[in-house]
Amino acid sequence: MTQLDEHKKIRVGVLALQGAFSEHIILLNTLPQVSEAVAVRNAQEIAQVDALVIPGGESTTMALIAERSGFWPALQEFVQTRPTWGTCAGMILLSEAVTSGGTLKGDQKLLGGLGISIKRNAFGTQKESFEAGLHVEGLDNAERLFPGVFIRAPVIDEILKPEDVQVVAKLERDYGKTPKGTIVAVRRGHLLGSAFHPELTRDNRMHLFFVKMAQDWIASQSK
C-alpha cells in the first residue's frame, strides 16, 4: 500500500463562472484519487466538494459574476480553510494584491490567502504568449520537464509571507523582459497557485500534485 491508497477519494469542484473549467474537469477525471470532478457555480454546489480549482479565464469577470450572484462570501469562506488551486486568473484571485497590469485596481476583488502579490500580463499581450518546459518541485517523474503554457500570463511579483510560502516553479530562462528565476508557482498551506495552464496540456502531473496535497491536508485536519 502506498500512502496514497490510505486516503479517501475526494470530490473536486472546478469554479465554472467563466473560463477554461471543462478542461480542468477532464484532467481531474483521469485521476483514480478523484471520485468525481464537478462544475461549481453557487453556494450549494461549493458546499458539496472537498477541494476547489479556480481555472484560467478573466479574473475580473469571475470576481464580478461571483459578487453579483451573491456567491462571493461562500467562495471566500471556502478558500480560507479548504484546499484550493488557482491557475492563471485563479492564482490572481488567490493573491493579496495586484501590483501592476490591472486597470480595475481599486475594484478588482481578490480572495487572497496565497501570501503573494501579482504582476498581471507580465509577458505582454497575446502575441507574446508561449509554451516552455518547467521544473516543478514535487511532481512525479520530476526529471521530466512539465509543459508550461503561458497565455497573457501573470507572474508572482513578490512573496509577502516568506515564512510559509513555498516556491514550486520558476522560469528556467529569460522570456522577453521577464528574467530567469521569476516565480511562476507557489504553495502556502492548503493553497496552490500557478501562472501557467496545466489544463491546456495532456500531462496530469500537476493535477495529481494538487489532489495529493489536498488529500494530505484533509487527513491532517481530521486528526
Binding site: A16, L64, E199
Partner: protein
C-alpha cells in the same frame, strides 16, 4: 505554424500522457492561440467604440472587448465602406482595460491585419461586418503571431477558416439587426452537419469533404471530436439575456454582443444581465431575475425585409 487540436476541448483517451517539453520557448504556437479562446469560454465579448464604453463593458464583466469605430447597427444605417478602426482609438482602449482587446479587419485585407497585430491587439476578427477587401481570398492566418477569429454559417466555411489559421470560430448571424434568427440557423447547421459526418465511414467522409468544400483532415478530426475543433462563439443578433442563454444551450462556448448592448436603453444593466445569463444559462430562475426591468432593447430588424446586398452573412467564401 499549423493547426493542432486544442488541448482538452473534449475528453480524450491520451489524457495523462507525458509530453516532451523543451526549455526553449515556442512563442505564439497554435496551442496558445486556441488556448486564449478557451480562456474566453463562458464569457461575453462586447463591441465598444471608445474608452468610456470599454470601461463600462469591463465593469459589467465582459471577458474581452471588440474595439471598432461603429457598431454594426450604425454601419448598416450609415452605409459606405466600413474599414478597420483608427489605431489610436484601439491603442487607447488597450491602455484602458486589463481584459483582452480584439479588433476587426476586412476579409482578405492582410495589411490591416499587419497593422492591427503591431498594436498589440489580443485577437483579430476577420469580419464580414466590414466591407470585404478581397472577394476570393481570406487572410493566410497561420503567418501571424496574433490569433484570428472568423465567422461561419456552416461546417464547410468554419473548416476552411480553421485551415487558413483561424483559432476560434463564431457564427455569423446577421450583425446589427438585434435578431437572433440567423445565429440560431448557423449554429444548428454546423451541429447538424457534424452529426451527419459522425455517422459516415471513411469513403463517405471524402465525398462529404468535397461536397462542403472542407479539408478532409479537419472534417475527420471534427467527426472524431463531435464538435468544431476550436472554440465556437455565438455572434450576430444577440440582444437579450434570453438570446445569449439560447445560444449557450444550443452548444456555443460563449457569446459576442455587438450593437445589442450600447444601442439599448440601459447599456450597463443589460451588459451585466447578459454576463450573468451566459454563466447561469441553464438556470431559468436566474435568467428570469436578470431579464427583469432592463429598459428598452435595441430596435430589431426583420431579416426577411433586408435586401440581399445588405446581408453581411453572405460575405466570406
Amino acid at each position: 505554424m499549423s493547426f493542432a487540436t486544442p488541448t482538452n476541448l473534449v475528453p480524450t483517451q491520451n489524457a495523462g500522457a507525458l509530453s516532451a517539453a523543451s526549455e526553449v520557448p515556442e512563442v505564439a504556437s497554435f496551442n496558445v492561440k486556441a488556448g486564449l479562446a478557451q480562456m474566453l469560454k463562458g464569457g461575453v465579448i462586447m463591441d465598444v467604440i471608445n474608452v468610456e464604453q470599454a470601461l463600462i463593458a469591463e465593469q459589467a464583466g465582459a471577458c474581452a472587448v471588440m474595439a471598432l469605430e461603429r457598431v454594426p447597427a450604425d454601419i448598416r444605417k450609415n452605409g459606405g465602406v466600413a474599414r478597420m478602426s483608427d489605431p489610436k482609438m484601439i491603442r487607447d482602449i488597450i491602455n484602458a482595460v486589463s481584459i483582452p482587446v480584439m479588433a476587426k479587419v476586412r476579409i482578405g485585407h492582410f495589411v490591416e491585419a499587419q497593422i492591427i497585430e503591431s498594436l498589440g491587439v489580443d485577437y483579430i476578427d476577420e469580419s464580414e461586418v466590414l466591407t470585404p477587401a478581397d472577394e476570393s481570398n481570406h487572410i493566410a492566418k497561420h503567418e501571424y503571431k496574433v490569433p484570428f477569429v472568423c465567422g461561419a454559417k456552416n461546417l464547410g466555411e468554419a473548416l476552411r477558416r480553421i485551415n487558413e489559421g483561424a483559432a476560434m470560430i463564431r457564427t455569423k448571424g446577421e450583425a446589427g439587426t438585434g435578431n437572433v434568427v440567423e445565429a440560431v440557423r448557423h449554429c444548428r447547421t454546423v451541429k447538424a452537419e457534424i452529426r451527419k459526418a459522425q455517422l459516415m465511414d471513411d469513403s463517405e467522409l471524402f465525398t462529404f469533404a468535397k461536397e462542403i468544400q472542407a479539408p478532409y483532415h479537419l472534417l475527420k478530426e471534427t467527426a472524431k471530436l463531435g464538435r468544431l475543433p476550436v472554440v465556437n462563439f455565438a455572434a450576430g443578433g444577440v440582444a437579450t439575456p434570453a438570446d445569449a442563454a439560447l445560444m449557450m444551450q444550443l452548444g456555443c462556448d460563449g457569446v459576442f454582443v455587438g450593437s445589442g448592448i450600447f444601442k439599448s436603453g440601459d447599456p450597463a444593466k443589460r451588459a451585466k444581465a447578459i454576463v450573468q445569463a451566459v454563466t447561469h444559462y441553464k438556470d431559468a430562475k436566474v435568467l428570469a431575475e436578470v431579464s427583469e426591468d432592463l429598459g428598452e432593447a435595441m430596435v430589431g430588424i426583420n431579416i426577411s425585409e433586408l435586401p440581399e446586398d445588405q446581408l453581411y452573412s453572405k460575405r466570406g467564401w
